[in-house]
């Protein structure tokens, strides 16, 4: 499980707090997929997830000066997103605000939304990506995995692998390039 480092992105956050839209755009692009995925896990609707993700980042932008860094930035963003999602679950299903309701009031579903079929489809392709990562040279795989899966800092990875930080940075970059290349090739091959 990737850990969330409160210090991560602190420079970009600080810039965004000063109104730097470039820095905020960077953060938004970085966290959009995770926010979207979290919202989708909650709503099971792509349209709702997109709408809520928009609302989340609008709210993040509006409230970014209240972010104190007590938690990781994503934790803070996630909290905003899920609060909006909870709000959405309640209010979107129950837009009738009049007291003269009919007896066929709308059901509120608080149950789990597990979907075994889609989970299976998902895991099959994810397996390919993970298999490729396992096939990377050990030095790249180790640095990349410690960063992406374990959330370690470059310094921590450098200590663990007894490698200069610059080398860690380079290995992680090369691993990323390799994964993207693999995905691109897979995409081409399947066409």
């Amino acid at each position: 499980m990737k850990k969330n480092n409160p210090e991560e992105d602190s420079l970009l956050i600080h810039r965004a707090q000063k109104g730097d839209t470039g820095a905020f755009n960077f953060l938004m692009t970085k966290y959009y997929p995770r926010v979207y995925a979290s919202l989708f896990a909650f709503t099971k609707s792509k349209e709702d997830s997109e709408d809520l993700a928009q609302q989340t980042f609008i709210k993040v932008w509006k409230k970014i000066n209240s972010f104190r860094g007590d938690s990781a930035f994503f934790t803070w963003v996630y909290r905003i997103a899920i609060n909006l999602a909870k709000n959405h679950v309640v209010s979107s299903n129950y837009k009738k605000d009049k007291i003269n309701i009919s007896s066929d009031a709308i059901e509120m579903d608080f149950a789990s939304h597990a979907n075994p079929e889609t989970d299976l489809m998902h895991s099959q392709s994810l397996f390919k990506v993970r298999s490729f990562i396992n096939s990377l040279p050990e030095t790249l795989r180790t640095a990349f995995t410690l960063r992406e899966s374990d959330g370690l800092s470059y310094e921590e990875i450098a200590l663990i692998t007894d490698t200069p930080i610059g080398t860690v940075r380079s290995r992680i970059f090369r691993a990323r390039e390799g994964v993207l290349e693999f995905i691109s090739q897979e995409s081409t091959n399947e066409k």
């Binding site: 499980m1 990737k2 480092n5 991560e8 420079l11 970009l12 810039r15 839209t21 470039g22 755009n25 960077f26 692009t29 970085k30 997929p33 995770r34 989708f40 997830s49 997109e50 993700a53 609302q55 980042f57 609008i58 709210k59 932008w61 509006k62 409230k63 609060n83 909870k86 709000n87 679950v89 309640v90 209010s91 129950y94 605000d97 009049k98 007291i99 309701i101 007896s103 009031a105 059901e107 889609t118 989970d119 392709s125 994810l126 990506v129 993970r130 992406e148 899966s149 800092s153 470059y154 940075r169 380079s170 992680i172 970059f173 990323r176 390039e177 995905i183 897979e186 995409s187 399947e190």
Partner: protein, 229 residues
């Protein structure tokens, strides 16, 4: 060589590991280099893919839709939401060319975040209300915690139970709760959960009445009127 250098810096910035002195160069390059913008988006998707719990990602049919209403974010992130799911479902649906950035995105960002619509959305907060409803549903004690022996016999409801927390009339039964704060509502809200109803009724004195149980709307109004007097 130069490309690799900026790409590696982007990777480092993505990890929050770039010195402040180097950030400017990456952000500047990002603002004008579409390939860098794509790469950043791909890094984000990759991270999500590798860290997400299986089951969190669901299939989404790819559509050539750069939603014009997606006014806040840029083209990359709009497409990213689609690509994220496609990557795991079927590689043949990936079309990286669709991840081209919207050149107007940066300008639209500034306009969007200052628009009335954005401000309206941002100020929309029903978090307290949601938390309240979830407590009503999930915590039985919550509905008995501040019941102050309200007499509803003149509308036909008698109390039941040691704490007199449940009111019954024929097939109707419910518990009630009064909030001193208004929870941000100014009109009646209601939900159905299972076979029970939840009514939140704002009272004239600023309090909010919560009714939870097998209760029709007519009875809910009568009860609110009694308590409101």
């Amino acid at each position: 060589m130069k490309n690799n250098d900026i790409n590696e810096k982007l990777s480092a910035l993505y990890d929050g590991e770039l010195d402040e002195a180097e950030i400017n160069s990456v952000l500047d390059a990002l603002s004008s280099d579409e390939s860098l913008q794509k790469k950043l988006s791909h890094y984000a998707l990759m991270s999500s893919a590798l860290n997400i719990n299986e089951g969190n990602v669901q299939p989404i049919k790819p559509k050539n839709r750069f939603n014009s209403n997606f006014w806040f974010s840029n083209g990359i992130t709009a497409a990213a939401s689609v690509l994220l799911t496609i990557v795991f479902i079927n590689f043949d649906t990936i079309n990286f060319s669709r991840l081209g950035p919207d050149n107007e995105a940066a300008n639209r960002l500034n306009l969007a975040i200052n628009s009335k619509e954005a401000k309206d959305i941002a100020s929309l907060s029903e978090e307290n209300l949601v938390d309240h409803v979830l407590k009503v549903i999930n915590n039985p004690e919550f509905m008995s915690s501040n019941n102050s022996d309200i007499d509803l016999r003149n509308v036909g409801f008698n109390t039941k139970g040691q704490s007199n927390s449940q009111y019954i009339k024929g097939k109707e039964s419910f518990r009630l709760r009064l909030e001193k704060k208004n929870l941000g509502i100014n009109k009646v809200r209601y939900w159905k959960h299972g076979n029970k109803m939840i009514y939140l009724v704002p009272l004239a004195d600023g309090r909010v009445l919560t009714l939870y149980g097998n209760l029709n709307s007519k009875s809910a109004i009568e009860i609110a009127e009694v308590i409101d007097k």
